[in-house]
């Protein structure tokens, strides 16, 4: 295993995107800046640019996610890449071996870029390290979500959305609300926000859904939602996964909504021009009320549109490295 950051090549350029943790702020800003001109591509008669013409992008999804896979597929197609979708159920035996054998086979088919979604944390990192060890520096990996670890393109599209509506991070108070413990989205966003110098990052949720040492990520912890939302510029709601109800973590969906569901009433504690974000898919009536989700402060659908441009930026930066 190489001991330098495997995401950066010898010249310091981004060659794999595995996590936002530890990325230099200039690299994150470069991705966000590059996404800006890509937003306009969707408004053209031909919604394509020829940057990745002749390149093969493999969507390697070991865990189902139609939405994320689709946005990567659209992004790659708008860059004129050839896109191959592989939905691989994780096999029960010798996962590591199988994973790297699969990768070697696809590299032999001239894959240029892997978009990897895996239920196990670290799987994209394993693939990237394998490619580096084999000297395949022209093949790139994008983490599309691994276990509880990271979902860097979601974090980047959240950062893009915040910057689009609010400008510089240095004056902002951002609250991330809900199941931070199980959320790779929250983890990536928090790393991105602190790297870019956000004035204050808060997490709001019941202690059972917050990581044990979440304060070490540079955030303020609030168990009371109204106190946590006070004077916020940005509120990011997290999806409450239904399976969390079955364990001992939460009493019921109704009880959760009462304390941590975002309603217009609770939102009134935030700044008047607050924006409300959600990575989707939403559980209406569990973590967010429809009046908020469909209301004037919601930027949930623009997030989806920006997400395609951000993924185009990431893929075109990696493939050019």
């Amino acid at each position: 295993m190489p001991n330098r950051n495997p995401q950066l090549n010898a010249d310091g350029a981004l060659t794999h995107l595995l996590t936002l943790e530890g990325l230099p702020p200039a690299v994150i800003r470069h991705i966000l800046d590059t996404a800006v001109p890509f937003v306009g591509i969707a408004e053209r008669e031909v919604k394509k640019v020829p940057l990745l013409r002749g390149k093969a992008v493999f969507n390697l999804f070991f865990e189902n996610s139609t939405r994320t896979r689709t946005t990567f597929e659209i992004a790659a197609k708008r860059l004129s890449a050839d896109v191959i979708n592989l939905n691989i159920g994780a096999s029960s035996t010798s996962k590591g071996e199988t994973l790297l054998d699969t990768v070697d086979n696809l590299v032999a088919m001239d894959a240029d870029l892997f978009v990897v979604r895996h239920a196990q944390s670290g799987a994209p990192h394993l693939i990237a390290s394998h490619l580096i060890a084999k000297g395949r520096t022209h093949v790139h990996v994008v983490n599309a979500g691994d276990g509880r670890h990271a979902h860097p393109t979601q974090g980047l599209l959240d950062l893009y959305t915040i910057r689009h509506y609010k400008g510089d991070f240095a004056n902002l108070t951002v609250a991330v609300v809900g199941d931070v413990l199980h959320s790779r989205v929250a983890r990536s966003l928090i790393h991105g926000l602190t790297t870019l110098g956000t004035a204050e990052v808060r997490v709001i949720g019941p202690r059972t859904l917050l990581p044990a040492h979440v304060e070490s990520m540079g955030v303020q912890v609030y168990e009371d939602m109204r106190l946590g939302l006070a004077n916020c510029d940005v509120v990011v709601m997290l999806r409450l996964q239904n399976e969390r109800m079955k364990g001992a973590l939460l009493p019921s969906a109704g009880e959760y909504f009462k304390h941590y569901g975002l309603t217009m009433d609770k939102l009134a504690a935030a700044k008047e021009d607050v924006i409300v974000m959600h990575p989707g898919p939403m559980n209406r009536g569990v973590e967010i009320d429809s009046a908020v989700a469909d209301g004037a402060r919601s930027v949930i659908l623009p997030q989806v549109t920006f997400g395609i441009a951000v993924r185009m930026a990431v893929m075109s930066i990696l493939a050019g490295a």
């Binding site: 470069h30 001109p37 306009g40």
Partner: protein
């Protein structure tokens, strides 16, 4: 190092004089970032007619992406008129290999099918690698291949020309 370089404002005046009698009254002016964009704004002001303005960044259409990758500072192309059926004058500061113009023409066709495209440049420095010629040029000059001709604009909007050692851009 500006010996032999013409004055940018004077050259722009020459370009205006050449374009004025020939350019369609409703031709759209599309400038290639960044020098061409400054010129497009000036030309639209100085040449009578109804000239919709557009700006184009050819970074996503360049032919050297595979070797140089994407650099920072790519701008969003803004073409706020219907390209299909439009008469377009593409505007750049310096015409050299012709590769930027090739990229710009390709990009314009992704917005629609123009009726025609002309090319106006401040400086034609020779050295073409593609069969592309300027319809209008402010000045033609010979420059060594390892030198770049660079257009700058000061705070007051005045244009000037300079020479730099060649950087792939």
């Amino acid at each position: 190092m500006t010996t032999g370089l013409p004055d940018a404002e004077g050259t722009l005046h020459e370009l205006v004089e050449r374009m004025r009698p020939a350019v369609a009254y409703d031709a759209a002016f599309v400038g290639i970032y960044s020098g061409g964009a400054w010129l497009a704004e000036r030309l639209a002001r100085e040449i009578a007619g109804d000239h919709p303005l557009g700006f184009i960044d050819v970074s996503f259409y360049r032919d050297d992406y595979a070797t140089t990758g994407l650099k920072g500072g790519t701008k969003r192309s803004e073409i706020p008129f219907d390209v299909t059926g439009a008469t377009i004058v593409l505007i750049d500061d310096v015409l050299f290999t012709g590769r930027s113009v090739r990229a710009a023409i390709n990009e314009l066709f992704d917005f629609g099918r123009p009726a025609s495209i002309e090319l106006a440049v401040l400086i034609d420095r020779g050295g073409r690698e593609l069969p592309i010629e300027a319809t209008y040029a402010g000045a033609r000059l010979a420059v060594a291949r390892d030198q770049n001709v660079v257009l700058s604009r000061d705070a007051a909007g005045r244009l000037s020309l300079g020479i730099e050692p060649f950087r792939a851009s």
